[in-house]
Symmetry: C2
Subunit: 168 residues, 2 copies
Amino acid sequence: MSDGIVLLVGAGPGDPGLITVKGLEALRTAEVVVYDALANPRLLREARPDAELISVGKRGGCHTMKQEEINALLVAKGREGKRVCRLKGGDPFVFGRGGEEALALVEAGVPFEVVPGVTAGVAAPAYAGIPVTHRGLASSVAFVTGHEDPTKEASDIGGTSWRLASAR
Amino acid sequence: MSDGIVLLVGAGPGDPGLITVKGLEALRTAEVVVYDALANPRLLREARPDAELISVGKRGGCHTMKQEEINALLVAKGREGKRVCRLKGGDPFVFGRGGEEALALVEAGVPFEVVPGVTAGVAAPAYAGIPVTHRGLASSVAFVTGHEDPTKEASDIGGTSWRLASAR
């Protein structure tokens, strides 16, 4: 019935030149582009003129569409046989909730691929001249979300980051 | 005397499609390409036919050129007025020792730019379907080098990773 596929694409940290070659190709060939507010709007000019562009507008706590609705949208478009580019800021799997979208697609039997992106957690310090690791100074780096699931009973973060800090 | 510039470019985790658009542009316009073994050799076909290609062949413990020699090479080529692409596997600032190369260029007064890349630490698990963070399961992620400076008196890693593990 369907040749649909969903490509979960990391748009990078903001600079449109920091999308990958493969990610740009996915964007340029997609029939449907589902994008959030973190992706640079200039990138959308790369989409096909006849592509359907759908904003799901995630930015901080203010969501145009709930995650469950986004998952359902991706599944529906995939089942329609569409080639879908899910354009996400940064990397889809680093605090991008790409894992939840991937799971929903697996459960629905819709083919998908992940196109990793440049993580803002690395690129933002790099643009400021700060390497996140440096031989002799930092042998490890930790990325910790600032937006945990608010329905959680307890945070997973405090203990870990405290221990990380106290280990130095 | 010189319009030289050194672009510290992350080639991504191996798939040549995972270099960024900006990184590919840097590679295609460079007069000198200084690359290590971790960068995919197919990428080198993108270089100008007249570009000087210099392998500095880092792979694990076996280095063709010492880091200090690589730093000196980048400084020398920059001072010759060349447009240099320093092509590194993954991201130049995540265990790529890009920080040391950047410092050497700063000290020598040679202009440089950093073009971040997709980190192998994120992309390799992603290709295997493993998100490094997942809402409800993992709110943080740590990347820890497997190749610390062997001249260090003590490792910085053991304590940190033990504490990270024990925090879960």
